[in-house]
Subunit: 149 residues, 2 copies
């Protein structure tokens, strides 16, 4: 099921804006692998949401579902993959910032402003992940029954 | 669908052993929030796998499925939740180690041995996540059809 654009598209987008605008504050986000990974996952999440929005617009305007029944599987695997990517992106960023701040403070290189900004971006990425995970649950229920346990 | 004990149970377990055995090597894993989080997710993943193994043993020995049809939903949500937990645990740990090593090396506090051990634990956690995610796909296909798109 396509994630509602009003919710799912906004958080990765704002997350990306945060990372880019504040990229020149003393340290740059591209100096850190974890933040680069988060940025990459955010871009992928955004691209996926735009694609799903396009599919939804096509469905609303023409009344036909692009790709026929196969789209159910694209939704299912797509939602699952993108939600894992966003979850790992946010987790990598949080994992980095939580300890980096205290370590750099201890050696006199405090970058709290940068860390707070990155935490905000990671939080939005996590919200995007939650929306995609909920969408993934709906797309799982939309699957035809294939096996029994 | 219960994850096969031979695969899914082993990697979180070995991951936990790695983290605990090497916890006293100059720095301790509990000094870092990211590693503590990874340890917590690994314990949850292990507990879930043991529970699923118990359900499977009950099914094999009695021929009845514990919990009836409702178990399908427990499998579905359980697999999904645990795979997200393991993914974020591994990502937080990787996000931390990838930059921590180079930062601490730069200030003359190299802890490569500790970092390598933690990376090994995170890799095993990631493998556990992959098995749980595959199990999650199977448990999604096992769901009865509830909605159409």
């Amino acid at each position: 099921m396509a994630p509602p654009p009003s919710n799912a598209a906004v958080s990765p987008f704002v997350s990306l804006i945060f990372l880019i605008i504040y990229s020149e504050v003393r340290v740059r986000f591209k100096d850190f692998k974890a933040f680069r990974y988060q940025c990459a996952t955010t871009v992928i999440g955004l691209a996926y949401t735009v694609l799903q929005t396009a599919f939804t617009i096509f469905l609303v305007t023409t009344g036909n579902r692009l790709g026929g029944e196969g789209i159910v599987y694209i939704d299912f695997y797509g939602d699952k993959l993108v939600s894992y990517l966003l979850a790992t992106g946010a987790a990598a960023s949080f994992g980095m910032t939580q300890d980096l701040d205290s370590i750099l403070d201890a050696i006199g290189l405090g970058i709290s402003h940068f860390i707070n900004t990155t935490n905000a971006a990671a939080s939005l990425c996590l919200i995007g992940c939650v929306f995609t995970a909920v969408s993934s649950i709906f797309s799982s229920f939309a699957l035809p029954k294939r096996a029994s346990v």
